[in-house]
C-alpha cells in the first residue's frame, strides 16, 4: 500500500474517531470481530479435540467418539466462518490490507523484525502505524496472507476429506492416500497450535498487555 493511501486512510479515520472516541481509532469492523472470535473459539476447541483424537492413550478429556463428533461439527463452523471472512473482505474490497506492497515489503519486514527483537525492549516506537487501511505490519501481512489463502484452506480441505474418507476416497487417492492427507492435516494442526500461542503473546505487545484484546472486542485501538 502506498504511503499516500495510508495517510488518506489515517485522515478519514481520524475524523470518525474524534466523533466517537477521543484518541481511539476504529480498526476492526463488526464482521471482522465476529469472524475473529468465532474463529478463535473454534481453533481452541479444534486443538483440544485434535489432541484428544490423536493422543487418546495419553489424554482423557472426553471419550474419543465424542471428540471426533465435536471436532467435525466445530470444523464446519470454522469453515462457514472462513467464508464470512472471505465474503466480507472481498465484498468490501478490504482484502487489499492483506496484500503486501512488494516494493517495500522486505525493508518493512526487516524493520518490524528488528523492532520485535530489539527496538521494543529499549522503548522505541513501533515502526508500523495502524490505520483501517493499513492494519497489518509487513510481517503480519505476509503471515496472514499465507495463512488465510493457503494454510487455512488446506487445513479445511484435508479436514473435510478426513471426515468422509470412504466417500472422498478418490480425491484422497489423487492426493497420494489417506496418510498423505493426514500428514498435511497434522502438520498444519501443530503449526496452528504454535501460531495461536505466538499470536496470543504478540497481542500482549500493545500499549498495555490487554489493549489489543480489548480492541478486538470494541473495534477501537488506542492511538499512539
Amino acid at each position: 500500500m502506498s504511503s499516500k493511501s495510508i495517510e488518506n486512510g489515517h485522515h478519514l479515520h481520524k475524523g470518525a474517531a474524534t466523533m466517537a472516541h477521543e484518541g481511539m481509532i476504529y480498526i476492526h469492523p463488526a464482521p471482522v470481530r465476529v469472524w475473529h472470535w468465532i474463529n478463535a473459539v473454534g481453533f481452541v476447541l479444534l486443538i483440544l479435540t485434535g489432541f484428544q483424537i490423536r493422543y487418546a492413550e495419553l489424554l482423557h478429556l472426553m471419550p474419543l467418539g465424542d471428540a471426533i463428533t465435536l471436532h467435525n461439527y466445530i470444523g464446519f463452523v470454522v469453515i462457514a466462518d472462513y467464508f464470512l471472512w472471505l465474503v466480507y473482505y472481498i465484498g468490501s474490497g478490504r482484502i487489499r490490507i492483506y496484500i503486501p506492497d512488494l516494493r517495500h515489503v522486505v525493508t518493512m519486514a526487516i524493520k518490524q523484525a528488528v523492532y520485535y527483537g530489539y527496538g521494543y525492549f529499549i522503548g522505541r516506537p513501533n515502526p508500523h502505524k495502524m490505520t483501517p487501511d493499513n492494519k497489518f505490519n509487513a510481517m503480519q501481512q505476509q503471515a496472514y496472507l499465507v495463512i488465510m489463502l493457503v494454510l487455512l484452506p488446506a487445513q479445511m480441505v484435508t479436514g473435510v476429506l478426513l471426515w468422509k474418507i470412504k466417500g472422498y476416497g478418490e480425491y484422497i487417492n489423487l492426493l497420494g492416500g489417506i496418510k498423505v492427507v493426514d500428514t498435511i492435516h497434522v502438520l498444519l494442526f501443530f503449526f496452528f497450535t504454535a501460531f495461536l500461542m505466538i499470536h496470543c503473546y504478540l497481542a500482549t505487545l500493545g500499549h498495555t498487555p490487554l489493549a489489543h484484546f480489548k480492541a478486538m472486542f470494541t473495534g477501537y485501538e488506542e492511538e499512539h
Partner: protein, 373 residues
C-alpha cells in the same frame, strides 16, 4: 513363512490319512464317481421348501472346478467324508444311494467351532424358532480358504447375507470406512485373535498381486522372493527389509501400494458372537499401544487357493508404503509426533525468551521514556 491350510489340525490329519488308506482297503468312493452324476448342471430333485412349504426344484449340481478350489478339497476331504451315510453306490438303481441323506454334521470334524457356536447369539436364536445351520453362513461345497480373503469377501460371504450394518452402528463415526477395512467379528467376537493383512495392490490395473502374477513379473520363484526379502532370516519383515521389497518391485517397474485390513484369525472363537459383547470402546483400537496391530502379515493367495503369509513388523504400518490405511491414533507416525513436539517447544521457547527479555528490560524502557519526556 506360515502356510495356512485352515484344517482342524488333528482331525484333519486323521481324515487325510484315512483318505490315503481308504483306497487300499478297496472300499472308497471317489469324488469322480459322485461327479459323474453331480457334475451335470441339469441334475435336480423335487423337494419341499421348509419355510414356504411349497414344491421346489432343487439343484444337485456341484461345480467341479469350484469344489476343487475349496478348503475341504485342498485338505483332501472327499464327498463321502461328509456324506458319510453313503457307503456304497448301486448303479442298478436310478439313484445309486439313499434318496434322503442325513444332514451333514460339520461339528463332527469342527468340534471346537461347534462348541463356540453353541455359546453364541446364532445358536440362541433357536429359542425363538430360528435354526441357523453352519452352511447358512459358510455354504457347503465351495467353502473357500479365507485367510487371504479381503474384508469385503469375508463379510459378503458370511455376515452380510443376513445383516445390514447400516441399520445399526449409528453411534460409529466413519461407518463406511470401518465396514470396508474392519471385519465384523473383529469387534463382535471380542476374544478372536486379529491381524492386519497387507496386500500388494496395483493402482494401474486396480487389482491385487497374487503370488503367480508376482512371480511372473519378477521372473523368480515365489519362495525365493521371500528368502531374498527376509535378509536376516528371522521370519519377520522389518521396515528396512520392507524398503528392499518395495525397491525390488520398483526395479521391475511395479509401483505398488500396500492395502491393509483388520481381519480376524480363521479360528473357532470367531463364532463366539453374543449380544451386547461387541467392542465399542474406540480407544481400544485408536491408540498407539493398541494390541490390535501387534500382528501384521503380508498375504499372497496362490492359484490353488492356498495362502502364504509372512510376518511383518508393526512399524511398517507407520510408513508411507501403507499410504491407504491409517488408523486414527492407532497407526500414527511417531515422526510426526516428534516434529509436532519440536514445533510446539520451539514456539514456546520463542515466547518464553521474548517474555523474559521483556521483563528484564522494563527498567531500561522506563528510563528511556523518562528521558524522552
Amino acid at each position: 513363512m506360515k502356510r495356512k491350510t485352515g484344517a482342524p489340525s488333528v482331525l484333519g490329519l486323521l481324515l487325510i490319512m484315512l483318505c490315503c488308506l481308504w483306497p487300499l482297503a478297496g472300499s472308497a468312493i471317489e469324488n469322480s464317481e459322485c461327479l459323474d452324476c453331480h457334475g451335470d448342471p441339469d441334475l435336480t430333485k423335487e423337494s419341499t421348501d421348509n419355510i414356504l412349504n411349497t414344491e421346489i426344484t432343487e439343484s444337485l449340481y456341484v461345480d467341479e472346478d469350484r469344489f476343487n478350489r475349496s478348503v475341504h478339497n485342498i485338505n483332501g476331504i472327499t464327498c463321502v467324508d461328509c456324506h458319510s451315510d453313503i457307503e456304497e453306490l448301486n448303479y442298478d438303481e436310478e439313484v445309486p444311494h439313499k434318496k434322503e441323506l442325513k444332514h451333514v454334521v460339520c461339528a463332527s470334524c469342527h468340534e471346537e467351532a461347534g462348541q463356540d457356536f453353541k455359546d453364541s447369539v446364532h445358536m440362541k436364536m433357536r429359542t425363538k424358532g430360528v435354526t441357523m445351520t453352519c452352511y447358512a453362513c459358510h455354504g457347503y461345497h465351495y467353502v473357500r480358504q479365507m485367510e487371504g480373503a479381503s474384508v469385503t469377501e469375508r463379510e459378503n460371504s458370511i455376515c452380510l447375507k443376513c445383516h445390514n450394518p447400516y441399520q445399526f452402528h449409528q453411534w460409529l463415526p466413519a461407518r463406511s470406512s470401518h465396514f470396508s477395512n474392519v471385519e465384523c467379528v473383529v469387534c463382535h467376537a471380542p476374544d478372536v485373535p486379529r491381524h492386519i493383512n497387507l496386500k500388494i495392490y496395483d493402482l494401474v490395473s486396480n487389482s491385487y498381486y497374487d503370488s503367480s502374477r508376482l512371480s511372473k513379473v519378477l521372473g523368480i520363484d515365489f519362495d525365493q522372493l521371500m528368502r531374498t526379502v527376509d535378509k536376516n532370516g528371522d521370519d519377520v519383515i522389518d521396515p528396512s527389509e520392507f524398503d528392499n521389497l518395495v525397491l525390488l518391485l520398483k526395479q521391475k517397474n511395479i509401483h505398488p501400494v500396500f492395502h491393509a485390513e483388520l481381519v480376524a484369525d480363521i479360528s473357532s472363537i470367531a463364532h463366539h458372537v453374543n449380544r451386547g459383547t461387541a467392542q465399542k470402546t474406540c480407544q481400544k483400537c485408536h491408540s498407539a499401544n493398541s494390541p490390535y496391530f501387534n500382528s501384521v502379515q503380508v498375504v499372497f493367495t496362490h492359484d490353488d487357493g492356498t495362502v502364504d503369509s509372512y510376518k511383518v513388523d508393526r512399524a511398517v504400518l507407520e510408513t508411507y508404503y501403507v499410504s491407504h490405511f491409517y488408523l486414527l491414533g492407532g497407526t500414527r507416525m511417531k515422526l510426526m509426533d516428534r516434529i509436532g513436539l519440536l514445533i510446539l517447544i520451539g514456539s514456546a521457547c520463542v515466547v518464553g525468551m521474548h517474555l523474559t527479555a521483556r521483563i528484564l528490560t522494563i527498567p531500561l524502557r522506563k528510563k528511556n521514556e523518562e528521558e524522552t519526556s
